[in-house]
Amino acid sequence: MMRLPRFRYFAPTSVKEALRIRAGEGESAAFVAGGTDLYPNMKRRQQTPKTVIGLSRIPSLARLRAGADGLRIGSAVPLSEIENHRKARRLFPALVHAVSEISTPPLRNMGTLGGNVLLDTRCNYYDQNYEWRQAIDFCMKKDGTVCWVAPGSPKCLAVQSADSVPILIALRARAVLASPGGEREIPLEELYANDGIRYLTKRPDELLTEIRIPPPDGWTASYRKLRRRGAFDFPVLAVGAAVRREGDRVAESRILLGAVASAPVRASRAEAVLAGRPLDGASIREASEAAAVVSRPMDNTDFSFLWRKEMTGQWVGMALGDLSRGG
């Protein structure tokens, strides 16, 4: 069996206490929510924190509230709770759908939204056990110097693979980050950087406390995911799309591609194509083509990357098709 390395474990009961422990332990500490990403990574020695700070006993992080200002989801709310939340299902069916496609039912009982939003980027050369990585001399993301996907690349190209992220950004979600210095709220989009190693703009000592989604206000959304098996698999191409219509014309839209870069990719040209037009066959086709241009998957996930690129237009078309029917 693959074994966890030794580490110290803390179980604070408040955000303040969690931050204090983090400040004391420094860079060798990691937060853990459900642990469905962190612990497997530790077993493979991709991450080797000496101290792990558990978040599951902090009541404020486990709250899920729906109100006039929309939905506030504590970072440690389990995914299955979101799936089963009546208001969330009614207000944000596309988000609930995306969440229900994350991993498997037992993992969704453990895994949290915060953990998903902060999910490590993935790569076939990196999500391997220690011995395997040793055999390829490691790579830039951990213990090595070269990127095996693109040996000339100055940066890591590991893939943004969290299902909730493209749809949350399409839904204009915001993230609340707490640190000893105080709290800040940023558009979720700004949390990500297109670098497989430094894929978050969050400082390591910041704790994600909440995800806030504004009320729909006329927006409708759809999430479409490409994966090998319907039962479970990380996305290898994902589309989160949302539109607001005035009459039968698109007033605003937000189209996000997932799993084709180290950060979620906004398909701005596709959004521009839709502006002021009805969501019909012609506009969807043009928008899909525009979106496909910015899709640049690399050969580090399941399926051939050329096919994934080719499928981008299809998937954008399907998501927009959902909106033209359901909207």
Binding site: M1, D127, W132, A135, I136, G230, A231, F303, W307, Q314
Partner: protein, 812 residues
């Protein structure tokens, strides 16, 4: 071999004897075992695909906390291997590593963590050698061959044989087809990871508990490598959490823990990680195939020329047999009057390939069934009819001297054709939807054992005690297929008792007579026949004693429902325990034995040992697909399968095996790939040894399966039973490819049939290029001049001749 009495248990879907323990989590698998003072073992595995070991320094590891012993190749210099002709493995590599994952050192420590931590302290100095990553590279001349045995360079084995006047067969054909196919490697993916516990006792005897399908072969290898008399070694096969051929070899870790227990005097355990199981492998050989087929206009085959090239990985394993198997069973389904087979296996620097469910036959079956579909479509014939009309007849000898007994393939085809609405729907569904058919056959046990001997392949001992208890001792190994249940059912049937009352002792080399193991679909037929013999002998003893007591002729004595009685006056009789007392009073201690030896094979040419079997099972399947032409993604909503099992001993187990085979076959057809990277560092590494990224379907991907059991009893089977564990896998991959063709008109001549390939073929078609994806060419293989064997039809006697045979009977 079967008794003529009507049956009460055999044929019914009764509960399996190990069912309650399995579903309540109480079955003790190897990893559940723990002994006092037990040490834990970890293997240091090579990080380079091909290299000489220059030096190993274990001093730091030995000094690490918790470490009790360290072993290297020097401690275990004797080679082993499952086949006598391929003794090319070492428990730990002494001087050369041949794939990433090849074990070079072993650590025994007081905890698994301590052993793991110490791995990093072992220093190994390598001199890298050029790695071989593909079949083509394996065929090229090699400066430093991976092994010094083998036919030439990195070519491990070359086979060439010709049956009958193939040239004349092609000359007689109306059309000749020539196509190439590829079947990617894949692995067993049993849920249980291999585990072993060794205990070298103070009495100088060694006990090894191991998740193995072949305790007898492990026993022999341990004796050889450890240099101990076999009589002092006991191997106990723990229930396997799935085997599928992945636990049929003797593995490094089994020998290593035995050695470490001997040197430390403490029990030593190992449980492999999932990654290590991928490195053990022994799965499906990636196989390139070229098929030339001569046919008449009505679809009758006049000649078949089959060439295969197998990627064997780093060691021999079962590879010589696998190579022969890629050419053996083409002849038992449809009439093939003249046949030429050429096969080659190359060594590459990857985990060794070996036997996976269907051993060596799913690859050629895929090619043959795809080829027939092509031929039918080209000739304007119905693909179901072209098969149905040219079946190899029952009770016949094939061109390569395989003796076909019962043959229910026609009935199988009829079932799936009717149930799927084939005649109305095939070729007539809207674009994007399609049906495909394929058939297959598989052995019910290999005719020959792995090492040459004249002893039985299966033995059973049976003990009846004076309390009426019946214990059955048999070397057979329960790998989940239900072998224990079959033994209990057969003995219970004959002695008229409840199968759940029987005590079974199986897979234990100290306590049970040898059964060669759970491979080649041999167990039900061979142990079943041995059990019939032992139980009938016990019955005769007891019946004689009861007859004497009741003053009746022994023929009047019946056994049923726990009683032994007068069949003409059933009230008159006694309970089974009373009958056992009568038996023991008359005869003394009651114990009987039974054994089984397969009939001799008809072929007497070199290579004739692979292919013969007491009986052949048959399957036919129709697969329905829905293809999205824009993406190439397809779904399989339904599969119809019919399997000729001869006779069900237990219908529930038979259905389970059929559906399990369909499931595994569908995984191979649609997604499974044992893929490697050769780019990084010029090292050859497994692409992704994990269950998440080695894509295999889950139960949620399983389509609806409608199963039909065809019972065409075979005179060689117990109650007429034939195999079911492997055969039903075989038709699935070709039926999927054929269905895709029916749906969108493109051929994917490669397994797996992935969405990317379907899409690529559709794009090729749209551009006016050949509407197919598959290997463009077959490599140049230096096959030798084939041996020539006259077919039975040509009046042959099964022996090879010196020169080519002509149809006229002369020698060319």
């Amino acid at each position: 071999m079967s008794s003529r009495r009507p049956t009460r248990i055999v044929g019914r879907p009764f509960t399996r004897v190990d069912g309650a323990a399995k579903v309540t989590g109480q079955t003790k698998f190897a990893d559940d075992l723990a002994l006092p003072r037990m040490l834990h073992c970890k293997l240091l595995r090579a990080k380079v695909a091909h290299a000489r070991i220059l030096a190993i320094d274990v001093s730091k590891a030995l000094a690490a906390p918790g470490v009790v012993a360290v072993a290297t190749g020097r401690d275990l210099p004797v080679p082993f291997g499952i086949l006598p002709v391929s003794q090319d493995e070492h428990a730990l590599c002494p001087d050369r590593v041949r794939y990433v994952g090849d074990p070079v050192a072993a650590i025994a420590a007081t905890s698994e963590d301590a052993a793991f931590d110490a791995l990093d302290l072992v220093r190994v100095e390598y001199e890298p050698l050029p790695p071989v990553g593909t079949i083509e590279e394996g065929l090229a001349p090699a400066a430093v061959p991976i092994h010094d045995h083998g036919d030439q360079g990195n070519i491990h084995k070359l086979v060439a044989m010709q049956f009958g006047d193939v040239d004349e067969g092609f000359a007689r054909a109306d059309r000749v087809y020539d196509n190439t196919y590829f079947y990617e490697g894949n692995t067993h993916l049993a849920l249980e990871q291999h585990a072993s516990v060794a205990d070298f006792g103070p009495d100088g005897k060694l006990t090894l508990w191991s998740s193995t399908q072949t305790p007898h072969y492990v026993h022999r290898a341990l004796a050889k490598v450890l240099g101990m008399p076999a009589s002092r070694i006991r191997v106990i096969a723990t229930p396997n959490g799935g085997g599928f051929g992945g636990k049929s070899d003797v593995f490094n870790h089994e020998i290593v823990v035995a050695h470490l227990s001997r040197v430390t005097g403490r029990p030593v355990k190992i449980c492999l990680t999932r990654e290590e199981v991928f490195y053990c492998h022994r799965g499906r050989h990636p196989t390139l195939m070229r098929v030339r087929t001569g046919v008449k206009k009505d679809g009758a085959i006049t000649a078949l020329h089959f060439q295969t090239a197998l990627d064997g990985g780093g060691y021999g394993s079962y590879g010589v047999a696998s190579t022969y198997y890629t050419g053996a069973l083409q002849t038992v389904t449809y009439r093939v009057p003249t046949y030429r087979f050429e096969g080659a296996r190359v060594f590459t620097n990857k985990p060794p390939c070996g036997p996976k469910r269907g051993h060596g036959t799913p690859q050629p079956r895929f090619a043959l069934e795809a080829e027939l579909d092509r031929i039918a479509c080209d000739l304007g014939l119905d693909p179901a009819a072209i098969r149905r009309e040219h079946l190899q007849p029952a009770n016949s000898l094939t061109a390569n001297y395989l003796r076909v007994g019962s043959m229910g393939l026609g009935a199988c085809i009829d079932k799936v054709v009717a149930a799927s609405g084939w005649k109305k729907r095939r070729g007539k569904l809207p674009f994007g939807r399609g049906l495909g058919i394929a058939c297959s056959s598989y052995l019910t046990g290999a005719g020959l054992p792995i090492y040459w001997n004249q002893m039985p392949q299966s033995g059973v001992q049976l003990k009846v005690d004076r309390g009426g208890g019946v214990t059955v001792f048999c070397g057979s190994t329960e790998i989940g297929q239900g072998s224990d249940t079959i033994l209990a059912a057969i003995v219970a049937e004959i002695l008229g008792i409840d199968p759940l009352d029987i005590r079974l002792v199986t897979g234990d080399t100290d306590l049970t007579p040898v059964d060669l193991g759970s491979y080649s679909s041999r167990v039900t037929l061979m142990t079943g026949n041995a059990a019939i013999q032992a139980a009938e002998r016990a019955r005769e003893l007891i019946a004689g004693a009861v007859a004497k007591k009741l003053e009746l002729p022994p023929e009047r004595i019946g056994f049923a429902e726990g009683r032994v009685f007068d069949v003409e006056n059933p009230e008159k009789g006694m309970t089974f325990p009373e009958a056992a007392v009568a038996g023991e009073s008359l005869h003394g201690t009651l114990g009987t034995v039974g054994h089984y030896r397969p009939p001799p094979s008809a072929g007497r040419y070199r290579g004739a040992g692979v292919g013969p079997s007491p009986a052949y099972s048959y399957s036919a399947a129709v697969v329905e697909v829905e293809v999205d032409p824009e993406t190439g993604i397809y779904a399989v909503p339904k599969i119809w399968i019919a399997h000729d099992v001869g006779k069900c001993i237990n219908a529930a187990l038979v259905m389970g095996q059929v559906e399990g085979s369909v499931y595994m076959g569908l995984g191979e057809a649609m997604m499974e790939e044992m893929a490697y990277r050769t780019d990084a560092n010029r090292n050859v590494v497994h692409k992704f040894p994990s269950v998440l990224e080695y894509k295999s379907p889950t139960t949620l991907e399983m389509p609806e399966v409608e199963t039909f059991l065809v019972e065409d009893p075979d005179p060689n089977g117990p109650y007429g039973a034939k195999e079911v564990g492997q055969g039903p896998l075989l038709p699935i991959p070709p039926a999927v490819a054929n269905a895709v063709y029916d749906a969108v008109g493109v051929r994917v001549d490669e397994v797996p049939v992935t969405p990317e390939k379907v899409r690529r073929a559709l794009k090729a078609k749209a551009q006016g290029k050949p509407a197919r994806v598959g290997p463009e060419r077959f490599p140049a293989v230096p096959y030798p001049e084939p041996i020539h064997v006259r077919t039975p039809e040509e009046g042959g006697d099964g022996k090879a001749e010196d020169a080519p045979v002509t149809a006229a009977g002369g020698v060319r």
